[in-house]
């Protein structure tokens, strides 16, 4: 997880960013849309990894905070006459609030019990959204949401998603490498010892959850910009499972691995989905191969190959 700052990485990141700026100019609309979707989904996966990989918490129902972010924007635009931009600012706050409430209840438990309780509480939120026709549109969701003109075109949505995702990644990278990030990793590796050196474990876990919730909310608001609609499936537990798979697939001990995992899943769903509705079968096979041959995830594998990562040393010496 610890990725030290290096000029090489910064240069590479900037180069990729500049290349991405030209995507809408040269690629057809559908592919531009796909890229934007990958940014939003990738941001969601990286935000989950803030608690899953960095904090070692079994956040089994992360999609709830994504859905809440999306619904916040959607409801702001359709139910109020306020500026739609306010909706985008409100989304992370509302997600953070839900994270805080669900977190306060869940962090009392640890490991699997934490995850199970979170699934139940998250499903409760989903059920409310699914049934409350007068407010959330129930199982139909809300469609034809008119986002501000600036970001309503495919290109506009793309640039907005790119900018927001890049900004969020930079912030999250800083958090991972902050004293908080290091302490959170220590808690992941050894909660008992962390308490003995004066760290309030429950409080740091709750803080981690709120941070993850904030960024999930942001990615949810990006989804509204890209798709122009929201529906209860955004906070259904199967999506949560998919995000976990993205993290594992890309490498949950790397910072950008989940982004890569998200790209793989979105592309699989899109292109294999054209040929068969059973695209999850292909996903299953890919996952099996992954567990057998790349247990560190795709990016984890390459990082280990090209860098003298700490984990490599420890495995070799054992």
């Amino acid at each position: 997880m610890i990725k030290k700052f290096s000029w090489k990485a910064l240069f590479l990141g900037l180069a990729v960013f500049v290349l991405l700026l030209f995507v809408p100019r040269y690629l057809p609309r559908f592919q531009v849309y796909l890229f934007a979707l990958i940014f939003a989904t990738g941001l969601l996966a990286v935000s989950l990894n803030m608690v899953l990989g960095l904090g070692g918490m079994y956040q089994f129902h992360h999609a709830v905070f994504y859905g809440i972010g999306a619904y916040t924007v959607a409801l702001f635009i359709t139910k109020t006459s306020l500026s739609p931009w306010l909706g985008f600012i409100a989304a992370p706050f509302v997600s953070a609030l839900f994270s805080l409430v669900i977190g306060l209840i869940c962090v009392r438990l640890s490991k699997l019990y934490f995850g199970m309780l979170q699934i139940s509480l998250g499903s409760l939120v989903w059920a409310v959204v699914f049934r409350w026709y007068s407010f959330t549109g129930g199982d139909d969701g809300i469609h034809g949401i008119s986002v501000p003109d600036l970001i309503s075109s495919t290109g506009g949505a793309y640039y907005f998603s790119l900018a927001v995702t890049a900004l969020c990644l930079v912030i999250m990278f800083r958090i991972v490498n902050s004293p908080f990030g290091r302490s959170f990793q220590a808690v992941r590796d050894n909660p008992e010892r962390s308490e003995a050196v004066g760290i309030n474990v429950k409080r740091i876990q709750l803080t981690g959850m709120v941070i993850a919730g904030i960024f999930a909310g942001v990615s949810g608001s990006l989804f509204v910009v890209i798709e122009g609609s929201v529906f209860p499936e955004l906070m259904f537990w199967t999506l949560s499972l998919e995000i976990i798979i993205m993290c594992l697939l890309g490498g949950w001990f790397t910072f950008l691995g989940p982004m890569l995992g998200a790209a793989i899943i979105v592309l699989l769903r899109t292109f294999v989905g054209i040929y068969t509705e059973y695209w999850t079968m292909i996903l299953g096979i890919v996952l099996m191969l992954l567990i057998l041959f790349l247990p560190q995830g795709v990016l984890g594998f390459f990082q280990e190959k090209f860098e003298t990562d700490g984990m490599k040393t420890i495995r070799e010496e054992k």
Binding site: N177, P179, R193, V197, I314, K318
Partner: protein, 245 residues
């Protein structure tokens, strides 16, 4: 400084600690000895909050700390090492120590400064004084057992404790490592003025460093006093020192 009074703790009806008494004055080096299963580790866990006592008082600097969570007790000035190596195996030696220094400096919830530049000098100072400088960049899980035990102490020192509790600091160490650990404990006591409470099976080590010894058996305090008094006590000789001394 530390006063343990009538402390009791049972697990499913088994009295692990039953009527334990202990008094530690500032600057002392106090040893707790007793056969396996006498309740030494349980007693330490009660003092540092890993366990809550069923009854009794644990007074530290005029405050009852019995039942407080471990992190609060740590902030009051008690740090500890563990009998079974308890470190952050995936972090480097340096980062292991820095975790506790960051915690001591109350920067655990600092989200945006660079951890790279935080608490470097203090961490280096501790690592150097414990002779771990050469291994600072190693992943701690790959160290030898003896080095990991030393790292245990280094982590505990990161919190700048007034009272340092060491649970069998030399368990599993080679004779050379034991000797250097002994020297280390002496210098911590003399040069840094840290009060030390430890338990140990190595009697030679215990009698060579402790100002005071408390003997436990079946969770009960048999005697508490200076080394010669303890050595000449008949009950102790029968119970623990094998009738000779």
């Amino acid at each position: 400084m530390l006063l343990v009074k009538d402390v009791q703790k049972s697990f499913d009806g088994f009295r692990a600690v039953n009527d334990a008494q202990l008094k530690v004055e500032k600057g002392e080096v106090v040893a707790v000895i007793g056969p396996n299963g006498a309740g030494k580790t349980t007693l330490f866990n009660l003092v540092t909050g890993q366990l809550n006592p069923d009854s009794g008082e644990i007074i530290f600097n005029n405050e009852n700390i019995a039942g407080m969570p471990p992190y609060e007790i740590c902030r009051k000035g008690i740090s500890r090492s563990f009998q079974i190596v308890n470190i952050f195996p995936r972090l480097t030696v340096f980062e292991n120590v820095r975790v506790s220094v960051i915690s001591y400096n109350k920067r655990t919830f600092n989200l945006f400064s660079k951890a790279e530049n935080v608490a470097v000098a203090e961490t280096e100072e501790i690592i150097q004084s414990l002779g771990l400088s050469e291994k600072a960049k190693r992943i701690s899980g790959s160290l030898s057992h003896g080095d990991q035990k030393v790292l245990e102490m280094a982590i505990a020192l990161g919190n700048r404790p007034e009272l340092l509790i060491l649970d069998e600091p030399t368990a599993g160490m080679s004779p050379e490592e034991t000797l250097s650990t002994l020297e280390l404990m002496k210098s911590l006591s003399r040069e840094r003025g840290i009060t030390i409470l430890f338990c140990e099976h190595d009697m030679e080590l215990v009698f060579s460093i402790a100002n005071k010894i408390m003997v436990m058996q079946h969770g009960r305090t048999i005697i508490e006093g200076p080394p010669d008094v303890v050595r000449s006590n008949r009950e102790v000789q029968e119970a623990y020192l094998g009738g000779e001394a």
